[in-house]
Symmetry: C2
Subunit: 468 residues, 2 copies
């Protein structure tokens, strides 16, 4: 396939008349040697099996396992619910909303390529309870896919236990195995134990791949396959991007170049990285990117153990909507942001704007394609930001489909790896998440955390002297 997504970086350069707030080509090129070293290191790491996420798109076994199970189950269910959080939800959500209709869940069965899909990545009793109420009368036609490497993530475990009990109570004659698929560690862990005991169909969370890098494994692909997404094309897009992002030459490698530009801006006082798609379908890919970028790059210490408190803050905005919300700040506020637009050439669906009739002031809109309007908004906003000396990048999508989305995912995964190397931090861990988890365990009454609970209690108790 020839539909390549591309990175346009001219508007991040100083030659656009933005000497203080743009980069020079020389400046970028000076990172060339460093990038070449990183590329060599990453290739070695990959060969040594240390970067298994890089090889997911090549694993036929994953696609076969997912396709086989989806093939067996498709057509049997009207509704599907994914139980997961973080990396076990954001990729699934992004694939669904980028590649299926914005009206998907409201379409009649005949117009949907799969079951209605709900991905509830939270433990809000109103949200979760409302969905359970909705499912109650549909339970016999509902499939639950619980996704958790260990099975001990509190939110997912709570969702799973609740759903399991509901199935037992409301469908006493049904088999749980007809309603639950578990995606979990291949061999061990709490959920694998449950799978073995209960006999659930199961899929695998790959070893050595953090949640935020797992969308192209069983984790992200199963709900997508159930809902008609072409997972072969997703992997193909990722593989084709791999050919581009393993090049040693910085100026020919879009992942390395994206990271280099972000890195230089970060060093030069722009710690905020705004991603702003001009496409409603791409907005949840920004949430996926937001986890990838934040959790990978926000680190206290560098690889030498020095305290650095480093990490750009990713921000999600949506064009054209947020022009009427954030662009005032983006243009006039502190020049502390670098912008990455996502632009779509062919939306695949068009709306012709209606006639303005006698209304002179609106006649310029009459009969024009809506895609021209949204893309004009993008160019207009880009122009306005450049006038305010704000640097802009654009990732261009020739179209939105599984092949281009696969490219995008792989591009940003590898760009994140480059950025982590440039920042000299461990891209793949998330040590700071642990304490909050343990604190939750403590507050929920887990025996072994009772000492911690005593420490947390003062934070929970309201001191009326500081309450108004």
């Amino acid at each position: 396939m020839a539909e390549q997504i591309t990175l346009y970086y001219k508007h991040a350069l100083s030659q656009i008349g933005n000497p203080e707030h743009g980069l020079s080509i020389d400046e970028i090129n000076r990172l060339g040697d460093k990038i070449a070293q990183i590329t060599t290191k990453m290739n070695k790491d990959r060969q040594a099996g240390k970067l298994p996420y890089r090889d997911l798109p090549y694993e036929d076994l994953i696609r076969r396992r997912v396709t086989d199970l989806a093939g067996k189950l498709k057509g049997k269910y009207e509704t599907m619910m994914v139980l997961g959080i973080g990396g076990s939800a954001l990729g699934n959500i992004a694939l669904q909303t980028s590649l299926n209709s914005p009206m998907y869940n409201l379409l009649p069965d005949s117009k949907r390529p799969g079951p209605r899909l709900f991905i509830i990545d939270n433990v809000d009793p109103v949200q979760f309870g409302s969905l359970l109420d909705y499912l109650e009368s549909r339970l016999d036609k509902t499939l639950f896919n619980v996704i958790s490497k260990s099975g001990r993530t509190a939110e997912t475990a709570a969702q799973f236990l609740t759903v399991q009990e509901m199935l037992r109570k409301k469908l006493p004659n049904a088999k749980l195995t007809d309603h639950i698929v578990a995606t979990t560690d291949a061999k061990s862990g709490t959920m694998r134990g449950i799978v073995q005991k209960e006999g659930f169909a199961s899929l695998e969370v790959p070893d050595g791949v953090g949640g935020r890098f797992s969308v192209l494994s069983d984790v992200g692909l199963f709900s997508a396959a159930m809902c008609g997404v072409d997972i072969e094309a997703l992997h193909e897009g990722a593989r084709d991007m791999d050919q581009r992002v393993k090049k040693a030459d910085l100026m020919e490698n879009p992942a390395a170049l994206y990271a280099a530009i972000q890195y230089l801006f970060y060093q030069k006082g722009k710690p905020l990285s705004v991603m702003m798609p001009y496409s409603y379908q791409l907005k949840d890919l920004c949430d996926w990117y937001r986890q990838l970028w934040a959790e990978s790059l926000g680190k206290e210490k560098d690889l030498q153990g020095k305290v650095v408190h480093v990490g750009p803050t990713p921000i999600k905005a949506l064009g054209a909507t947020d022009q009427h919300s954030q662009v005032q700040l983006y243009r006039e506020g502190p020049n502390d942001k670098v912008f990455t637009f996502l632009e779509v050439e062919d939306f695949g669906q068009e709306v012709t704007i209606g006639s303005a009739g006698q209304v002179e002031e609106l006649s310029y809109l009459s009969g024009q394609p809506m895609s021209k309007l949204i893309n004009s908004e993008k160019h207009g906003t880009e122009y306005a930001l450049l006038q305010s000396k704000r640097p802009c990048l654009t990732v261009r999508f020739p179209a939105i489909n599984a092949y281009t989305v696969g490219q995008f995912i792989y591009l940003f995964e590898v760009a994140t790896s480059y950025m982590g190397e440039l920042l000299d931090i461990n891209t793949y861990d998330q040590p700071a998440v642990e304490l909050g988890k343990e604190a939750t365990f403590a507050l929920m009454g887990q025996e072994k955390y009772q000492l911690l609970k005593q420490k947390i209690q003062p934070v929970c108790d309201i001191d009326n002297n500081f309450l108004i």
Copy 2:
């Protein structure tokens, strides 16, 4: 009603063992005189009619106008679509999602307090086209509410023209007046002209109230009233909050105190303000706040005309979801953020977590209320952030209902006014949004912007030297 939302600020103070990254009470108190002056000024401005947003909750006429029209129309429509963007959409969305079921649009007619509601604040041809496809067979039971002060906002105008033409074509025997309600300037402007010519029922965008401060006027209240929201209680909540936020004493005025704390942190190297509700229902109130804060406070010049490029960047996060996405960065990244949690005491709906049976590791969850889990997550995260010396505020909701949401809206509107005064900027304009609008007009071919178009063209043309 006694259900007051409250502001808890203890965890923003240095006495929690956070000397470098907390505030002292003295430091806050030193702003007391300044705040008292601002309060006096704001009271004067208000009396002089310069802050009309402050008086919206007292306008019986607004409630009567909205209630009367909603009363006439309710029951006639199965679907309602709001056409608007920015301040003409974000408030409507926030009221709907905070006060109605998360499953609202999927509920059967008998379980919904009003029509299905779609608020499509964009001009994405796929999103808009998919919704039009969905509406095609339901058009005779669909009401459109177009919201635009002038009628010339490009996105809203494009939506309106398209819908109007669709109605004419698909329902040739129907009257447009049965399907369109316009909320616009009371006397003049493009949309008022259309209203007068076509005879549409209409509501008013109040004079002197910017879009982002307009949710408690016809703008935000009509779709809410149509969908069963108690708009009397919204206004009552706002009025009751007004009694609290007009107090001259900083330590007794939650809006002033919130602004003072945010201001001090902004001055002390924390330009990022994260709002993180532990409630799915409150998440879109954060988007509403995000516009309010960004567009009001992001300004190039102060009131003396000095170039200051000021403005905190508001960031939206969602608990517990974003613990698995952003908290790694929030704890270990740069200490450049202040956190505002939204915490709910009584969710009004409960889910009991299912039994863990023999699974020892999960037994701590068995039979516990899900609300306890999400609130434990909040306290756990707050504790973890405090351990990392990150300052935290909490707005506490005793419950989520129209009365408390009304309080919240008014609290943050007035806090924004205080913050603008502290930053010494014009809180109520948005000059930087104009250029992007004009650029869009130019690119869409409006005659009078052809000179501008020539300037923009180089930004639109792709230079292949910078494309990879």
